[in-house]
């Protein structure tokens, strides 16, 4: 009674060849067996409470940037994503068709950024991200995962980093950045394997691969602030984690073990990590839990909190404020994930002349639509990703109209997502990391 058929989609149903290839190898029995095993072994109290408690009230719909950007398409309401995936798995006792499985895979991997905004809009606090991760884990177990993110997961497993960076390439990149920086500051160092240093600095795989200037800037900042710091020579330097998003939690556990143990081996007092959101999530309350560490075994400080601390202690001084008006994009994994929004604002206000708030902001900011592994599903889904975040474009345009010329986003995925949105919707706004601003404005 009264369920509507989904509106005809203007895109082909399955865009990724690896999803199709993976599903073709499966019979309905295979699918049912894995789904039922998963529900039996890992579908615990939260899984059941969430599925039983959802009253289909629709409070969550208005939270989701997919739903809002795509003309309130009912299928894109958070609860609808659960209904089409786990709802079917449970209703049909696992005996779902390959088509349902493929659709579920696309919904869980590419129609949800696991940003947890909807969790704040649900009267019951139902964690749709948790449920979508459950679907992803089922997909992982069945070998039905989008090609690009699966390849990234493979890279993680083979190299302990996201980008197939070989051990020597990593060290070489650091030494190259150190050489470059020494042209500016002759006695600068990127200390490798310095045992007992106060700060163990870790980054994500794309930094050495594509954005090495961020390592350069971080080194200059550490130098200027007089920080006793180090980076590791060995695998473990990458704090990122796409396995958390493909559902390969065993591999997530391994990645985090290597990362934490390299910082512990060097006996640093804490890990400071670059401006990445998902890596923070993985290190702060996901990967450590898979390993049995209730909290990270060594304090983890996100770059935003670290900058704020350095400014507050006077170790980092602003020589001249950034003149162009800026706005700030709150990344979900460090705002809903760690409440760093006020610290970020404090850094922005101390370093920029004019700060213009985006609306909505802080915990209620809209996601970039790149996070949660969605951008890592690669080119097949780029168009959808951009179209599914018109609300972000409108939000940026409104900030632009108020005068903002620069949007600061202290997260790599947000950068990727916002760049595509800015380009697609032709918004005249430049995107920067917080460290880009600090590097330009601080006393060196």
């Amino acid at each position: 009674m009264a369920t509507t058929e989904p509106k005809a989609n203007d895109e082909p149903i399955v865009l990724d060849d690896a999803i199709i290839e993976g599903a073709e190898k499966l019979s309905e029995e295979d699918i049912a067996q894995v789904i039922n095993d998963m529900i039996r072994t890992e579908g615990g109290a939260r899984f059941k409470a969430y599925l039983n408690t959802c009253m289909s009230c629709g409070y969550c719909s208005g939270a989701c940037h997919y739903y809002l950007s795509r003309d309130k398409e009912p299928r894109l309401a958070p609860a609808a994503k659960v209904k089409q995936t786990l709802g079917e798995f449970v209703r049909k006792k696992g005996r779902v068709s390959r088509e349902t499985l493929m659709r579920s895979c696309e919904i869980a991997f590419t129609d949800c950024n696991l940003c947890r905004r909807c969790m704040m809009y649900c009267p019951f606090g139902i964690d749709v991200a948790f449920l979508m991760l459950f679907v992803r884990r089922v997909c992982h177990k069945l070998g039905v995962v989008p090609r690009y993110i699966q390849d990234t997961a493979h890279s993680h497993s083979a190299t302990m980093n996201q980008m197939w960076v070989q051990e020597d390439e990593w060290i070489d990149t650091l030494q190259w950045q150190e050489d470059e920086a020494r042209d500016e500051i002759p006695d600068l160092r990127i200390p490798l394997e310095k045992e007992g240093a106060d700060v163990y600095y870790s980054v994500i795989g794309p930094e050495p691969k594509f954005r090495a200037q961020l390592i350069y800037q971080a080194a200059v900042l550490m130098h200027a602030a007089g920080i006793d710091w180090t980076m590791t020579e060995f695998p473990g330097w990458d704090n990122s984690d796409m396995c958390m998003y493909t559902g390969d939690i065993e591999m997530t556990a391994r990645l985090k073990k290597v990362h934490f143990e390299s910082a512990l081996r060097l006996r640093s007092k804490r890990i400071v990590m670059g401006e990445c959101g998902h890596a923070f999530r993985s290190v702060y309350d996901v990967g450590n839990r898979f390993l049995g560490w209730k909290m990270p075994p060594i304090e983890v400080v996100h770059a935003v909190a670290f900058y704020d601390e350095l400014l507050a202690e006077g170790r980092l001084k602003i020589a001249r404020k950034f003149e162009r008006p800026v706005t700030f994009h709150d990344p979900c994994n460090i705002v809903r994930g760690q409440g760093l929004h006020e610290k970020a604002r404090s850094v922005v206000r101390q370093s920029c002349e004019t700060f213009i708030e985006m609306e909505p902001n802080r915990e209620h900011n809209f996601c970039c639509c790149a996070g949660g592994g969605v951008i890592n599903c690669g080119p097949p889904y780029k168009n959808k990703r951009v179209k599914s975040n018109r609300v972000k474009a409108e939000q940026l345009m409104a900030a632009r109209e108020k005068g903002a010329e620069v949007v600061i986003a202290p997260c790599h995925n947000c950068h990727g997502g916002l760049e595509d949105i800015i380009h697609h919707y032709k918004i005249d706004i430049e995107i920067k990391f917080l460290i880009d601003i600090l590097f330009e404005c601080m006393e060196k």
Binding site: T159, I171, P186, D187, E233, P297
Partner: protein, 426 residues
């Protein structure tokens, strides 16, 4: 090679070097490293000519280089570092470079028993290992987890035997990684292979592998255990009978497996870093009996004492009668011995060191920004600005303590020999 017995164990304090003086002689001095016997202190220094070298006890190596990094002392007290000249890299030991130069070298390791030096190297995107200036004959398209055996005779590493294009997930899942032992790869390939252990006589190499995206096992000399698990950690050889144990995850919980079969009875929330007594009769491991509680289990019996944040650096005493480890709770580090924690915690602590007969435990610790050595729970009254791990003499009668002093000894690296009789008792 001078044996430990031949080190200078005469009690007293010796000022080995005044590091403040180094500062004036060079454009830059990096953090210092100290030899195991404490007789030498070395640092990478930048000369006034914008080149780099190593300064040992105030005397620089004759040669200078474009770059020097990874300075370390070998167990037999030689200073070794990775050096580059005209964009080529090699290893310099006590100032003399190897004959071979490479496009890059890294991951310098020493064999514990005889100080053989191993590095990972790369030429023309081909990866291989080098042992005491002798490179492997074969190179691979990637190499990780380089491991050197105790006596330095065997080098093993995880290598990629089939190249995969980025994005070719099917080829990857067929298995492209194997283990190369002294440059010769095993026949079988795995989806992944990680940490390696080599048995005492070098004949056996064990590695943790994943042979599908879901199945983890242990391979020993190219032969996999018949059983698989949902996750696994590093395998270890029994030092006496060559059986292999590894922590494995089964039905959502961790357990120790031996030769492919579940071995321990208890199930743990986590179990890793297991280690043997030298007689091979006992196994201990770092475990979390329940979520978020950490301790040591010896032969499947966990201590009652647990720590909230972590347990690490666990070690058997040489006589196999005691176990010491570090534990961390609420940001403070504790030293625990046989299930009892020392009463005073520290801001940081380093691996505990047993005396040869296991009666004393010494640990480098940090309190209020200063370093000191704690023995049997009490701090020695020698404050340091920088300290290194203490060393007991082979007869257990002396303790070597090394560090850069404070106060009138500020900037001075000192070597102290203390009589263990004078140390705080348990």
């Amino acid at each position: 090679m001078k044996s430990m017995e031949e080190w200078d164990w005469a009690p007293g304090k010796k000022i080995v070097a005044d590091l403040e003086k180094w500062q004036s002689g060079y454009a830059a001095v990096e953090e210092p490293y100290v030899s195991p016997d404490g007789e030498k202190i070395a640092a990478i220094v930048k000369t006034e000519e914008e080149s780099y070298t190593v300064c040992v006890n105030g005397t620089p190596w004759e040669k200078t280089f474009d770059k020097v990094w990874s300075l370390r002392f070998s167990p037999d007290n030689r200073a070794a570092a990775l050096v580059s000249d005209t964009a080529e890299w090699s290893v310099a030991v006590d100032g003399a470079t190897w004959e071979n130069w490479f496009e890059f070298v890294w991951n310098m390791q020493f064999s514990k028993a005889n100080s053989a030096i191993a590095v990972a190297a790369q030429n023309a995107r081909s990866y291989f290992a080098v042992l005491d200036d002798t490179p492997w004959e074969t190179g691979f398209s990637s190499m990780n987890n380089l491991t050197v055996s105790r006596n330095g005779e065997t080098l093993a590493a995880v290598v990629q035997t089939t190249a995969v294009k980025e994005g070719d997930i099917n080829a990857f899942q067929k298995g492209c990684f194997s283990v190369a032992v002294n440059g010769v790869a095993w026949k079988n390939a795995f989806v992944n292979a990680w940490e390696i252990d080599i048995n005492p006589d070098n004949r056996l190499v064990a590695v943790e592998v994943r042979h599908s995206l879901y199945d983890y096992s242990i391979a020993i000399n190219d032969e996999m255990w018949p059983s698989s698990f949902s996750a696994i950690w590093r395998p270890r050889f029994n030092p006496v009978d060559n059986s292999v144990t590894a922590p494995v995850k089964s039905a959502g919980e961790w357990c120790l497996a031996k030769d492919g079969e579940l071995f321990w009875e208890r199930r743990y929330s986590q179990l890793w870093h297991h280690f043997y007594s030298t007689d091979g009769k006992s196994i201990a491991a770092v475990v979390a009996p329940t979520y978020g509680k950490w301790t040591i289990a010896e032969n499947d019996t966990p201590w009652d004492l647990t720590f909230k944040e972590l347990v690490m650096d666990a070690v058997y005493s040489p006589d196999n009668r005691h176990i010491a480890c570090l534990g961390k709770t609420d940001g403070k580090w504790y030293v625990a011995l046989d299930g009892k924690a020392w009463p005073t915690p520290f801001d940081r602590a380093w691996p505990p060191v047993f005396s040869p007969r296991g009666e004393d435990v010494a640990v480098k610790v940090e309190i209020d920004g200063k370093y000191a050595i704690a023995v049997n729970g009490k701090l020695l009254d020698i404050p340091f600005a920088v300290a290194w791990n203490p060393v007991f003499s082979p007869d257990g009668k002396k303790l070597l303590v090394k560090g850069i002093g404070t106060g009138k000894d500020e900037g001075k690296y000192c070597r102290h020999i203390l009589e263990t009789e004078s140390l705080p008792r348990k």
